[in-house]
Symmetry: C2
């Protein structure tokens, strides 16, 4: 940090006092127009940059929020939702005048230590993206209260913004039903993990069946043992064995698609002729597979934006604990066939 221009320098240059410069730069009305113009011009000329920290020190307002992401699983770092959500969040926070401090939960910084950092930097709020339940707990039990919003995961006692998984589940079944399918299976996401997405999608699946007047049987759902290819593969295998006549499967995650594909190849089942499939997340490659996969797209833009709006509301004192749901959209490609 080399020699930097301060309001004192400007004051000296235009022959005014620092106070006046401050006022002019902040658009106060009690400065003559002539003086204001002169100051603003000079400031630009000298390349003045306000020292946000000094200002914050005085005003007790940092205009900084922290963002905490990631579970302990390293994989999530490659989760395609994170960056888009963060980016949308950032853009919206910028609209509100805030900037972002990056606070991932690396092992050493879990819990209180993470809070220390946040506090020491005077952050005014925290966005939690997909944090692990343990961390969430630490946060809730922390003595200090700081406005927080959880995105892509429900954390009780704070506003949570996430995809309407249940409705998506219903829509999946509905779509499959309309396409003529009557024997539908579901590979559910694991429970007890980050977020409750797995359970919610499964609930939607059941509700969808009900609405279409189909009877639900335990055998139609197999819960995968993780959000991975392998887990999907195993689950699908079991599902097929339990439902030899199944014509369609709704996967709670695109990751499972690969497993389904694998098993289908093994058993000589063609997609979509012999097996229709719907995924979840619209991962990049799903569009390029052959056939292209029909899958749900989460509205990452909205997820980030609304998280930002809620967080600002919280910061401004309007604390309300609620769960906000963003609809997912079904992206129809070629992995579901119409049967008669």
């Amino acid at each position: 940090m080399s020699r930097v221009i301060t309001i004192y320098d400007i004051a000296k240059a235009v022959g005014a006092s620092p106070a006046t410069v401050s006022k002019a730069l902040n658009g106060r009305r009690d400065v003559s127009d002539a003086m204001r113009d002169k100051i603003i011009k000079k400031a630009a000329e000298m390349g003045y940059r306000p020292n946000v920290n000094a200002r914050g020190l005085k005003m007790k307002k940092s205009w900084l929020v922290g963002i905490v992401y990631g579970s302990d699983m390293h994989d999530t770092l490659e989760h395609p939702l994170f960056l888009p959500i963060m980016d949308a969040f950032k853009r919206q926070m910028e609209m509100h005048g805030y900037e972002l401090l990056f606070l991932s939960q690396s092992s050493k910084f879990i819990g209180d230590s993470l809070f220390s950092h946040a506090f020491s930097r005077q952050v005014e709020g925290l966005l939690l993206i997909n944090v692990s339940p343990e961390t969430a707990n630490l946060f809730k039990h922390s003595a200090t209260h700081i406005p927080m919003v959880s995105c892509d995961g429900i954390i009780s006692s704070m506003t949570s913004v996430l995809t309407d998984n249940e409705s998506a589940g219903i829509e999946a079944v509905d779509y499959l039903y309309k396409m003529g399918h009557r024997s539908i299976g579901h590979i559910a996401g694991p429970v007890g993990m980050i977020a409750t997405a797995g359970e919610e999608r499964k609930r939607g699946f059941k509700l969808g069946l009900e609405r279409c007047g189909l009877v639900y049987d335990e055998s139609q759902v197999v819960t995968a043992k993780g959000w991975t290819f392998k887990a999907g593969r195993d689950a699908f295998m079991q599902l097929l064995n339990q439902n030899p006549h199944m014509t369609a499967v709704f996967c709670a995650a695109d990751f499972y698609l690969m497993g389904v594909l694998d098993v289908c190849k093994e058993r000589n089942l063609t997609i979509p002729q012999d097996m229709s499939v719907i995924g979840f997340d619209d991962l990049q490659w799903t569009a390029y597979m052959n056939p292209g996969f029909t899958t749900f797209r989460q509205d990452k833009e909205m997820l980030g934006k609304l998280s930002a709006d809620r967080l600002v509301e919280n910061i401004n004192g309007e604390h309300r604990e609620e769960i906000i749901r963003i609809p997912a959209t079904l992206v129809i490609r070629d992995s579901v066939t119409h049967i008669v």
Copy 2:
């Protein structure tokens, strides 16, 4: 920002002066052990958090660096390298005592305005991840000089940290050669884009051929018109037409794999029996395809870590402009066959 504990509060509580408290808390030696213990204990008890900004104001050291990411293409937000690199960078910066401010280059904040932000926050350095050439230019021409490191892209006049693409290209050919292939094609990445990865990999391809004693012919390389599936598909089609006897293809990006797959299916070519293929990036799904794809893995951890180390060096005044290369590793799976 509610009522917050300061060193004055602690001073009062233990009956010492703020200066002593400051010294004790900062591990200075000129405080009696008894007093130090008392202060530290009290501080913890009262939940004291140092105000980093106040300290920075005094010390002229913010312990903050900014991170600028993303090209103008929205897609990059889903680029699987970003988050891992950022995360590795963050962890390493943390080791050095720094925290991260998030400065994506949303359209409105390009160029000087981005600098204003960075400056106003007193950031001591900037990490540029894969920024667009235009932005890079704005940075270079900016009047203000602030230590910068470019990751995953070469920007002249600053230290750049990136994968050793050329060597990877050589290795690809070498491996293919050892597996018995003699007619090898290459789908090159587009030129003039972010980074020079495309050109570098192509250069490696040619060098590899040379080393293996194979003659290179123009027809063996087709440059894709982007980093997309579609571009890869078109390129491969052309490549096949130009080289009917080709038995292997080295793709500059995993994205191209899908296109290759597509064309192979069309032409009834089985991978790897009829066509061996190598990709680049080790995207998650490449492992789960059937067959699993052989591809290069970039060392995101190292990319982030070294970027951090170099940036800190720069901040500490050791300015050197260099290009640091990190080797990629060939992840061998089943998309290359041994021919006789």
